[in-house]
């Protein structure tokens, strides 16, 4: 599935959009980590919580749970939220 990457993470992906796979958000992030080492810890903390200023959308709808199921046709957006100056 397609994953839209925000600018702070493009030093890892070198691309605005990448392909990744998984049947859950957790698996998707594991695949992104496999392809782009270091990626996951920048967006998910060591307690498996989404970091405060990162947002995850599936087909335009925000999700908060890493167990959220995914279909191969889903479009994923990772977005940076406001975090001050």
């Amino acid at each position: 599935m397609k994953v839209l990457i925000p600018t702070p993470l493009r030093s890892y992906t070198r691309a605005r959009e990448v392909e990744a796979s998984g049947t859950t958000m957790s698996e998707l992030l594991a695949d992104l980590e496999r392809q782009f080492p270091g990626f996951r810890f920048r967006v998910i903390d060591e307690q498996d919580r989404m970091r405060a200023h990162m947002r995850f959308f599936i087909n335009g709808e925000q999700v908060f749970d890493l167990k959220h199921p995914l279909r191969s046709t889903d479009d994923i957006q990772i977005v940076q939220a406001l975090s001050g100056g």
């Binding site: 925000p6 702070p8 993470l9 080492p37 270091g38 810890f41 920048r42 967006v43 998910i44 903390d45 060591e46 307690q47 498996d48 919580r49 970091r51 200023h53 990162m54 940076q80 939220a81 975090s83 001050g84």
Partner: protein, 400 residues
């Protein structure tokens, strides 16, 4: 006394001449500046008069510390995060020409099911370990955590003896017990005589010591004051801002604390408040403290306004450093070259450093983004760089 003949004089000169020929190339000072928006490296000329700026590195990243490994003279570690992304550590083995991210940055252990675990917000402090332990580093984080790397900063392991110890967790307090930017572990110090002997400090949470390489730790807070009305026997209330070991005498430590300036001479376990001799109108509150590389009686502080609502800026808008040359018995003002009025900045706990030259060069970075230096131990200050982002840390290192 026998008078030297011309011949004996010539003989006497020979060893000196030989020493001259074999003398190592003089070192150049490198000043490493960590800011809220990136890192800069300033390369000094031999006289420390002109400085070449190398940066920004990691533009836009929040850099809390950049440290050169004195054991190889070319490896740098940088503690980084951004406004959005989680914390990490970057490593360079070519003095900043290229950087590579740590494979496993400092992170707390995963909490058991049903328990709320902690997450590292940022790595705040980096310390190279003992000279006999190449590639070993220590890191302190916010919230308070202690970490060790044995592969030069590529992967980091937590100290469960601190990070997960119930007593230490209690002493660390909660988020509101820390600094406005989060509670921090800092001032990780390695005894140059013994790699198993370490200190660290927590804001809040006091100063602590181990003699068994971190298996067990003990508080070292006797003699330190806490905010009025609170019990100094409660470790949580202690707020050491900056602890420094004397490079020429590892038994002597100095400390700038939330409640004064202190010194301890080991094996004593009691700190002595030496800031009482500061001028009354200045007081002895501040963040940084620096010790002379060859004289354990000489140390510098940079006082700030800790009255009323704690503005944390230069007192009356007039920045000034103070030096003691007798272990804290007396203090002298050092403000030549510094602004005389309307300078409302301060110097954070990591943002003042000394080089190893003779006379000693001192460097400090301000919350308003200015880097200042002196080539004569504080007699005359001059700006090195202006218009940088807010400066979080300054380190001075020698390149050979």
């Amino acid at each position: 006394m026998a008078r030297k003949t011309a011949k004996s004089k010539a003989r006497a000169k020979k060893p000196a001449a030989k020493a001259q020929a074999g003398r190592a190339r003089p070192s150049r000072t490198l000043v490493l500046v960590a800011t809220r928006k990136g890192a800069w490296l300033y390369h000094g000329d031999a006289a420390r008069k002109t400085w070449r700026a190398d940066g920004p590195h990691f533009l836009g990243h929040i850099i809390n510390h950049v440290v050169l490994d004195p054991r190889d003279g070319r490896t740098l570690l940088a503690a980084a995060k951004t406004g959005h992304l989680g914390p990490t550590v970057f490593r360079s083995t070519d003095l900043g020409r290229t950087w590579k991210e740590a494979a496993k940055p400092p992170a707390f252990a995963k909490a058991a099911n049903g328990e709320k675990g902690r997450a590292v917000d940022h790595t705040f402090w980096l310390t190279p370990a003992h000279a006999n332990e190449p590639n070993v580093w220590y890191a302190g984080t916010s919230p308070q955590g202690l970490f060790r790397s044995e592969d030069g900063g590529v992967s980091w392991e937590p100290f469960s003896s601190v990070n997960d110890d119930p007593q230490y967790r209690e002493w660390m307090g909660a988020q509101q017990d820390g600094t406005p930017d989060g509670p921090k572990m800092h001032s990780i110090i390695v005894d140059p005589r013994n790699p198993s002997h370490l200190y660290f400090a927590m804001s809040g949470g006091g100063v602590h010591e181990t003699v068994d390489k971190g298996r067990t730790w003990k508080p070292l807070v006797k003699g330190l004051e806490v905010v009025g009305g609170f019990d100094p026997n409660t470790i949580t209330f202690h707020d050491p801002h900056c602890v420094r070991m004397s490079p020429s005498n590892p038994d002597r430590l100095y400390q700038q604390n939330h409640c004064g300036i202190y010194r301890i001479d080991r094996p004593s376990n009691e700190w002595v408040r030496i800031g009482k001799k500061m001028p009354k109108q200045i007081g002895d509150i501040g963040f940084p403290m620096v010790v002379h590389p060859r004289d354990d009686n000489t140390a510098w502080v940079f006082p700030m306004d800790g009255q009323t609502v704690w503005p944390r800026i230069s007192i009356d808008g007039v920045p000034v450093a103070f030096v003691t040359k007798n272990g804290g018995k007396s203090w002298q003002r050092l403000d030549s070259g510094l602004p005389k009025t309307q300078a409302w900045w301060t110097v954070k706990r990591q943002a003042m450093a000394a080089d190893a030259q003779n006379p000693v060069g001192l460097y400090f970075g301000t919350t308003s983004g200015e880097l200042w230096g002196t080539r004569d131990e504080g007699k005359k200050w001059a700006p090195i760089a202006r218009h940088l982002p807010e400066i979080y840390a300054v380190e001075a290192a020698e390149l050979r």
